[in-house]
Amino acid sequence: MMSPVRVGTIAANTMREAIRSRVLYTLLFFAVLLIGTGVLLSTLTYVESERILQSVGLAAIRLFGAAIAIFVGIGLIHREVERRTIYTILSKPISRAEFLLGKYLGLVATIWLQVVIMGLAFAAVSWLAAAPLTAQHAMALGLTAVELAVIVALATLFSSFTTPMLAALFTTGLYVLGHLSRDLRDLGAHSEVQSVRLAASALHRLLPDLESFNLTTQALHALPVPGSDVVVATLYGAGYAALLLVLAVVVFDRRDFK
């Protein structure tokens, strides 16, 4: 049985490590700076200046969020093994699955906290520029948080068995492919060869469909977003991340810490 105390202890400690690390503050500083430069960019145009400001802001949150998720996630487990801190931890009555889940949840919580901070900066800049703030903006930020949880799960999976360098390559590659998987499916659907159609569809199902978490257009143009879309995307993200974590536990459980 998973113990919430043990998982929570690992998660809280992972958050504490991130909060005490200077690297994250640097990344967060640049993210907030980029959100702020939206104000500057919006002055370069007479039309739709608020939309440009908010477009830059949302893009900054998504990109910096992904960068932090990949940057920290790729070393999440590998660092513990490499620095041998895992020896004393696993000698306690904690399972490898609890340890891995704790590390994952700790990093997700840290990144969500950063999304909140970046979201507040975004709201402040929008308010200063008198740009509208709607429920769609909140939904867009919410789904960005779900997308980042999926990216952290990807990074955790790779970090559980390979080096940070390879984990970075795999995670970044899947991040890019994840944003193209919907295009790939649509492209394949136009093919006259059935095997190509099937392969494109299968790839779309296998790869994370990260565009399903992208509500930037709806937020910028105040288009209606059905609540069910957000719920389905959230469930999809949670399910995909859970599958990745199960896979990570299977791999991690078999490992020898030499």
Binding site: R6, T9, I10, R84, Y87, T88, P93
Partner: protein, 323 residues
């Protein structure tokens, strides 16, 4: 008649192989080792570097999985986790989260070990005081010296008051004072009735603190039992010192017994116990004077070296690769 002490650690025909190269070959590090550790004893797991001591300990701690065989602690298979509530572990050269303070890291391990929240602050204070780190309790671990980290390692191993403690080379890299402190600590744990399993290659430590030992060489157990019995396994020798030894006798003794050191007519010999009478008779017949006859106590070091040499040298298990 008192009952046999309970078996705390039981290792049966444990085999460990690691893949090498591209994973096509396998290197066998443990060749089906078996041994027992009984309740309340200080057990020394002794062997040269590369013999398989740390591999065995990692298997017992569930950090690596056995290829074959079985190991259990307190009656539980080492693959389980819940029983570790009663187990403490100090790795060799322990590493900890450097961003935490001494107090924070102990609280972290206490929570993981299931110590009730209300007991944690009191337990930490006791341990900090015990290992002499109260003055540095609120400093980050990155500012700690090696000796201080070793003390943190001991404190974390004991934070949940385990009944059996595993120590991997607990005195390596410490100064003489630090080593004495660790020795005293091990003896104190023993007095409290805890079972201590200690990996070491420092023989003086073994002689000072251990009740029983297992000697591992190249992944095989060469001996398991009391140290006194181990020292008795070799042939007993006796040192004989003679004076007024004429050259003819000296030559005869050298040819007959090999070992000879001496200055002029003064000769020292080490002979097997059963041949002492023969040596003395010849010496006295040749007019020599017997100065001293002393039974030679085999040191643990020489007995250990002889066990290693019987196994074909101290190098590790390399070279025993299998496809």
């Amino acid at each position: 008649m008192s009952a046999e002490p309970r078996e705390i650690v039981r290792v049966d025909r444990l085999v460990k192989e690691f893949p090498t190269g591209l994973g096509l070959r396998r290197r066998r590090v443990l060749h089906g080792i078996s041994f027992r550790v009984r309740e309340g004893e200080i057990f020394g797991f002794v062997g040269p570097n590369g013999a398989g001591k740390t591999t065995t300990l990692k298997l017992l701690m569930g950090l690596i999985h056995p290829t074959a065989g079985r190991a259990s602690i307190l009656g539980h298979d080492v693959g389980e986790t819940a029983f570790r509530r009663h187990v403490g572990f100090l790795p060799e050269n322990p590493y900890f989260y450097e961003f935490l303070t001494g107090r924070e890291i102990l609280a972290f391990y206490a929570r993981l070990s299931g110590v009730p929240g209300v007991q944690i602050p009191g337990r930490i204070e006791t341990l900090l005081d015990w290992v002499g780190l109260s003055h540095a309790a609120d400093a980050r671990l990155r500012t700690y010296s090696k000796g201080m980290l070793q003390r943190v390692g001991i404190a974390q191993a004991l934070v949940h008051d385990p009944s059996v403690v595993f120590l991997d080379e607990p005195m390596s890299g410490l100064d003489p004072i630090g080593r004495k402190e660790i020795r005293d600590l091990i003896l104190r744990l023993h007095e409290e009735g805890k079972t201590v399993f200690m990996n070491t290659h420092i023989l003086s430590d073994v002689e000072t603190v251990c009740d029983r030992v297992a000697i591992i060489v190249k992944g095989e157990i060469r001996y398991e039992g009391r140290i006194e019995d181990f020292l008795e396994t070799g042939e007993r020798q006796t040192d004989v010192v003679l004076a007024h030894v004429r050259p003819a006798l000296a030559t005869a003794l050298e040819e007959g017994f090999g070992m000879r050191s001496g200055r002029g007519e003064h000769v020292e010999l080490r002979v097997p116990e059963k041949r002492v009478a023969e040596v003395l008779e010849r010496a006295l017949a040749a007019g020599a004077e017997v100065v001293a006859v002393t039974p030679h106590r085999v040191s643990l070091e020489s007995a250990f070296l002889s066990a290693v040499q019987q196994a074909g040298g101290p190098e590790g298990p390399e070279g025993r690769e299998r496809k």
